[in-house]
Every structure is written in C-alpha cells, then in structure tokens.
Subunit: 364 residues, 2 copies
Amino acid sequence: MTTGSRHGGQPSSPTPRVRLVDVAREAGLSKTTVSAALNDTGRLSPAVREKARETARRMGYRPNATARQLRAGRAKLIGYVVGEAVDARSVFLESPYFARLTGATAATALRRGYAMVLLPAGSLQSEWADLPLDAVVVTDPDADDRIVDDVLAAGIPVFSDRSVEGRPGAYWVDVDTEAAVRSALDHFHEQGARRPVLVVPDSTTRFHTEVFAAHREWCAEHGLPERAVRVPEAGNGPVVRAVETALAGGPAGDRREGGGGSDGEDRPDALLVVAEASPPLVLEAARRHGYSVPDDLLLACVSEDVTAEHTEPPVTTLSLRPEAIAEAGIEHLVRVLEQGGREPAGTLVPTRLDVRASSVRRHG
Amino acid sequence: MTTGSRHGGQPSSPTPRVRLVDVAREAGLSKTTVSAALNDTGRLSPAVREKARETARRMGYRPNATARQLRAGRAKLIGYVVGEAVDARSVFLESPYFARLTGATAATALRRGYAMVLLPAGSLQSEWADLPLDAVVVTDPDADDRIVDDVLAAGIPVFSDRSVEGRPGAYWVDVDTEAAVRSALDHFHEQGARRPVLVVPDSTTRFHTEVFAAHREWCAEHGLPERAVRVPEAGNGPVVRAVETALAGGPAGDRREGGGGSDGEDRPDALLVVAEASPPLVLEAARRHGYSVPDDLLLACVSEDVTAEHTEPPVTTLSLRPEAIAEAGIEHLVRVLEQGGREPAGTLVPTRLDVRASSVRRHG
DNA sequence: ATGAAAGCGCTAACAC
DNA sequence: GTGTTAGCGCTTTCAT
C-alpha cells in the first residue's frame, strides 16, 4: 500500500515533477538520447530526436535548472546592489536614475541569459553569501564602501564604476563625467550665463566627486569664480534647501559681505543641479526666490525624471542614459564571464543633454 | 607536466575554489563530519567541530549553493514581475509605489532566506523558463494577463493580488481598496466637499477596477453624482490632462450643456487622483485652471511620492503602504512554501491616509 | 546512432 | 562520535 515512499522531499510536493529519466523511460530511450535530443547536440536520427521531443512535450517535461547549473559550474545569476546611501534602505529605487538602471540591467541580463537578483541597498556580502552568484554589480559605491572588497574577497567578479579601476577581478562602466559637466556648463555659457552655480551631493561616490572636480576645472579655465553648494544628504527636501542656498548668494563658504540686497552682480544666472530632485520642485524653489526661468536664471538638472518635460517651462536635463550604462555593463560582464579573456576592464558611456526651454535665453 | 587537467570546467577558473572534500582532507576528517560541523547538525565532539570549522575558515571555504539547492530540492529563489503595463517595458520602477514595493519585497525576501529575481515587466514565463524559481510574485496583473496562467501551468506557485482568488496554487495579498477609497472620500465630505471628482486609470487591474466600483458605491450612498475621469494610459502627461478634464467640468461622458463659464454649481470642489502622477504637477494643473488649493479645491493623491510633502501646500496622500504589502506577501509566501499546509490564501492590508494641508479647509 | 556510467558538490541515511 | 555511501537531476565522455 505504500504508494511511493517520498525519500528526501518536501512536505508534500503538489506534483512530483517529471524528470529526464521519466521521459526516457516513457519514450523507451535512454537519458542520454533524450538529453541530446532536447539540447540539439550529438548525432541522433531525426526520427528518434523527434520522438524524444514529442514525448517530453507531451509529458510537460521541464529541465531542472539547478541540476544543470551544478553540472555547468555556473548559475547564470548575478547580484545587483546599490552601494550609495547605505542608510536609505530600499528607497534607492525611487530615484528615476536607479530605477531605470535597475530595470534595464535586469532586462538586459535576462536577454543574455542571466537572472538578476536584487540585493537590498547597503546589504553586506555576508547576508547573501549562499547565493550562487557568478558576479555582482555594484552601482555607485561610496569611496569607503566595504562591499566591493567583500565581494572580491569571496572570489566573485565585480562590475562597478570607475572607482574600482585596477583591482583584479573588478571591471567598470562609467559615465563620461567630465564631458557631461562640460556640455552643461558650455551650454550655459553659450546662452550668455556668466555666474553659474552647481548643486552637487556631498557624497564620496565617484560620480559626484568627479562632477565637483570637473566643475572646478571648467571654472578655472573660463576664469569664472567657482560657485558650488554641496548637499549633505539625499532627498528632495535637502536638495531644495541647497538650491535655495545657491540662489540666495554665492557658494557656501563665500563672501556674503554687505547687509541686505546685494543683488545684481552676485545673483547666479544659471543653475546646474546634479543632485536627484524633482524638477518641478526645483523650478518652484527658483520662483519663490524671485527668479524667472529662463529669463534671469537658466536651469538644468542631471536627472532622468520625466516630469521635467511637463513643467512650465520644461526643464533641460542631462541624462546619464541608464539604459546605455546597463547595456554596456552587461555586455561587458557577459564577455568577461563567458570568454574569460582579459577584457579591457572599462567602458565609458557618453551622456546626453536634452535642451529644453528652461536653459534657453528668450528673444535671440 | 600536466598541472591538473581541468575536467569539465570553465575556460580558466581564477581560483579552483575549495570544496568540502578539500577541507575534510586537510582536517583529516570526512566530508560528513565537516558538513555536520558547519551546519551545526549531528553529534560531534566540540573539539572536532571546532577543528573542522577552523580549517574551513582558514581555507576560505564557501559552500557551493547550487549543490545545496540540488540536494534540498528548492532554490530559495523567487521571481518578481510587474504585470501591469506590458508596454511600459522596464519603466515601472519609476513609479514610487512599484519602486518601494519592489525594494521592500527583495529586502524582506532576503531576510527570510529567499533571493528575489527581478523579471522585466510584461515578460513571458517562457523567457525565464529555466530559472529554478520556487514561486513567482506577480504584482497587479491585468485582467487578461497570461502570466499568471503560464506560471501556474508550469507548476509554480503564484503570489499576486486578489484577482487570482480561488485558483489552486495561487495566493494573494491586496490592499483594502474599498476602505481606502472610503477614507479619502469621507475625509473630503467631512471637510465640506460635495462635488468630488475621481481620476483613475482605465486599466483592468484589480485595484483600479475596485477603486472605480468603490467610488461609484460611495457616491450612490451619499446621493452625490458620480464624477470620474478615466485615464487612458500611464504617465504624467496623460494623468495631468485627465486632471484638467476633471477640473474643466464633470465626468467624461457628461452633460456640458451651455457654452462658456458654467462655473459655480458644476465646478468640482475636491479631487482624488488615483493614477500615479507627480503631486507638484497635479497641483500646478489645478492652479492653471484657476483653483486655489485647498480653498476652492481639496486635493488628495494615491501616491507614495515623497514630493507630496514638499509642495506648497503639501499634498494629502493615500498611501498603499508598499512595505506592508511586501512584508505580508513574503510572510505568506514563506509560510506556504515551507509549511506547505493549505494557508488562508489571502491577506488584506489596510492603507493610510496622510492628511496634509491640500485637503483641509482653512479657517475652521 | 544509441546507451552505460561517471560525476558536478553537497547532505542525510545508515553503518561501525 | 565518525566515516561510508547513496543519491539530488542533469550532461558528457566513452564504449558499443
């Protein structure tokens, strides 16, 4: 009466799932033959191949991925962590940039045969040590981030930004930050702006530190004073406050001599916001401070936020092109993982400036 | 001179990775003993257990997850797809709601020992057929979505919203939509509004159809005309246009007799926006149409968008509490997967109305 | 052209 | 207490 003595199985499998050997038995063939037929390998007579396939189909056979992985030695699984903002638990996805980067990475990876596991921002390698990850993508790690070291120490290849350059087992894709900053500042300059201000997060992320440096350099080259406000933390509130600081006068550690309205000479005439913030809110902040955009303030945001197109005036954005980054990164990863050869280790992805009314001077 | 003939391995493994048997040999013990020591099972003398552990640590041993999975029969992997908006490829994450739901699901799952694979929105089961998924989470499937059927047909448990109720192998978590809609409309009513309008996506998602129904019911109960505008597609543009339609007059298929300004009686005095849209943009749209919020229009949005707190006035939001949904869902999933027993199949999660200035009448 | 058998790395019966 | 052994389901030499 023992109707099949489950050996080491689960509490009660809903369906005992058909295995390769079941198909083989049913078709009167061997595992080998059926496997070959299904994988289109080996030399089989068309008849047998078809019979095996047909039987498999009829029985609803689906190969056990885990067994394949074990055999193959790799799991076709990659991890994805956002390094930045360890404190901002799982909120990073609310940034349109990370949202799109994340989605695009997952989609591209799957297209290339890899599944992407979403790892909570700021999680430690130890928390997912027993995932069979072939590689880990670490986006925008902080300079002092442990995660990259942890993963490398575990012998897992890391794909990150340029900050990992030179580390064995680490590969990178990055935006061409300098060109990006230049393109925005040059654009302002062409439009006649001479007192641009930068608002940038005070983070140790590669991108942000490079933005700061590129801005400094550009200002020096153009003989303009370096005006920058650093945002202490992420979020719309802090960024908007930083924007207000920027619009109130010059840089943070700056001469604000004289008492009241020292407007005119000192008021910024262009604003580049690199920190993630909602374009409508930034625009609104400018208005509150008595600026009319673009008449007396040119505005551009580094952002993927689609609301930028819907404001009045629409806001010029500098897109980091997350989809392009994701694609470049995954292509790179697949090449490294599958060809194993020593790859160039890095790729630079250009940005795109979408000029809209907020940064174009009116009447010619 | 053959320095180790790689058998069926990769092109060139960077490090041959230490296996259980290596540790065993090194420690002069058997695989069993080491395994037991590491997993804290079996009866081992403390001395031996320590020795095994020490050796493993020293050699940098990390168990092969795939082998474990094969042995255990389950991969501790769950898939996550957003059913809604098949067309909006990987953009769904830009919605703060989905972003937070996604992040929270991943985090909660990992805490419970499951890794979450992010599947591109609208992707088919066939595209990830060879992932060893223990279950698939399908958020907000459209009524005619194939995905749920596909996954169930593959013998994989599905966790989704209430629309899957009654299907064997399907479990659900859902927001208490009716209570949610009531709470918002009741709030408007208490504030004196008598001509509320609803803006809701014209989708076949369970949530949206229920919102529409709940609103209809509420209006009937209160003897108020049902005013609703359905948004044909997602995105800030379409939603803002729908808001403008709503504010211009009554419902879409509605008497708009007479020519010009039939204001007064007909103008809505409260607006509930259920479609994802940026609160600042909605507010701006209301202003463009000559409304002052909250003086002659009360406003509330179903949204997780944090910008709602930063507008002037701040916007009242109805939060669906994605983190709570994620937690309830994953708890449920883990229970089903691990205890296998026939679980209650469904959980309802309450929403939260965050009342802010946009929906509170001034001067008492 | 097809099948038998080994083995991926691990865990769990079952001896000793 | 500790070691031996048998698989988990699949792919892949290697015989036949």
